[in-house]
């Protein structure tokens, strides 16, 4: 029914049919629509202002979509709890430590040899106590150490040298003596 009686009366002059109708709308509106509309419009106004501002400064930028080109890394589920991770590192550190100490001890080991025993040894008695075959086998085994290389000078041929001197001129001999000095 109309609140304005003028409008109601006007309709009734057109036809009494209109008395049977009520001016109500059958359509539904989503809940809270009118409560939220103002906020939505304010946000749109703000967005439009930002667009207009950029349009006046650098319109090209408004043609570029604002989609994010970067991607978040895919979260990998943790395979082990943090405490197990520590155990892993601890075992690794222990292994490295053991290896380092072992290497150090191995390298720092000094071989000691009792040379003083040789000084007090009676060599003559020792040699006499050895059999000939033992000594020969030792000499054979260490031949390279005992036998010196052949450094003998060939026998000088005096005759040949004399004939050479005789055949040479005095000048050649002088030159040889000078060059030798």
């Amino acid at each position: 029914m109309h609140q304005n009686t003028d409008i109601q009366n006007e309709l009734e002059t057109i036809s009494p049919f209109w008395q049977t109708l009520h001016a109500t709308m059958p359509y539904q509106v989503p809940a809270q629509y009118f409560e939220e509309l103002h906020g939505i419009v304010r946000a749109s106004i703000e967005k439009e202002a930002i667009y207009a501002e950029l349009e006046s400064v650098a319109p090209l930028l408004n043609t570029i979509p604002k989609t994010n080109v970067y991607q978040q890394p895919i979260a990998v589920p943790q395979k082990a709890l943090p405490v197990f991770r520590f155990v892993k590192w601890a075992v690794a550190a222990l292994f490295i430590g053991v290896m380092a100490i072992s290497t150090f001890l191995y390298n720092s080991k000094v071989e000691t040899f009792d040379y003083s025993a040789y000084s007090t040894m009676d060599h003559n008695q020792l040699m006499q106590s050895m059999s000939d075959s033992t000594l020969l086998s030792y000499i054979d085994a260490h031949e390279t150490l005992i036998i010196t290389p052949d450094i003998s000078i060939p026998e000088y041929d005096v005759e040949t040298s004399t004939s050479l001197i005789e055949k040479s001129s005095d000048q050649a001999l002088l030159e040889y003596i000078e060059s030798s000095n």
């Binding site: 109309h2 609140q3 304005n4 409008i7 309709l11 057109i14 036809s15 049919f17 209109w18 049977t20 109708l21 009520h22 001016a23 109500t24 709308m25 059958p26 359509y27 539904q28 509106v29 989503p30 629509y33 009118f34 509309l37 103002h38 939505i40 419009v41 749109s44 106004i45 439009e48």
Partner: protein, 182 residues
């Protein structure tokens, strides 16, 4: 029912930079429902209505600074809403022509409403209104639902009061006939 300031006070708030936001909010809250139903009666669909109404409210924000009080605020806002809605309908018609769709589809939209009941008089009325030419629909809705005086409607639609009255009477008779014949 919420109490609203009169238009002059709301406009005064809007004109002052420190209370501009408050003034605009007051105007929106005062008229949003009337504007919504004005648009919804023409577009039927809520989503379409929501899109158009948001555009209308943005235009109101942009134009309010230059609003001259030689016309009523309400009439000025209704004009924006009417023009935006008619533009939207025109765009829809062009799209329908391109896709070889028959009719404007409003009858189908009414029938698609979740609470539609073809036996109820209230729904028959909606279907009948939508069978009228657009201008007649507009006049009928403004008078029947919004109870707008002819002089205000005249200012809004820039048509003489006599022509509007005639248009309204013709529309009412047509609707009666349609409902009675169905």
């Amino acid at each position: 029912m919420a109490l609203h300031l009169d238009d002059t006070s709301l406009l005064a708030q809007f004109q002052h930079p420190s209370t501009r936001e408050k003034g605009y909010t007051g105007i929106v809250k005062k008229y949003q429902e009337k504007l919504y139903w004005h648009i919804r009666r023409m577009l039927i669909d809520h989503e379409d209505t929501n899109d158009v109404l948001q555009q209308v409210l943005i235009k109101i924000w942009n134009g309010l600074e230059n609003f001259r009080e030689d016309s009523k605020l309400f009439t000025w806002m209704y004009r924006i809403a009417t023009n935006e809605t008619l533009t939207f309908i025109e765009k829809q018609k062009k799209r329908a022509t391109v896709s070889l769709d028959q009719g404007d589809g409003f009858q189908d939209k009414i029938k698609a409403d979740s609470s539609f009941n073809e036996n109820q008089l209230i729904w028959k009325l909606q279907l009948a209104i939508k069978s009228l030419p657009e201008k007649q629909q507009l006049v009928f809705n403004l008078r029947y639902y919004d109870e707008m005086p002819y002089h205000q409607m005249s200012e809004l639609l820039e048509t003489s009061e006599g022509a509007l009255k005639a248009s309204y009477h013709v529309a009412a008779k047509k609707i009666e006939e349609i409902i009675k014949n169905n």
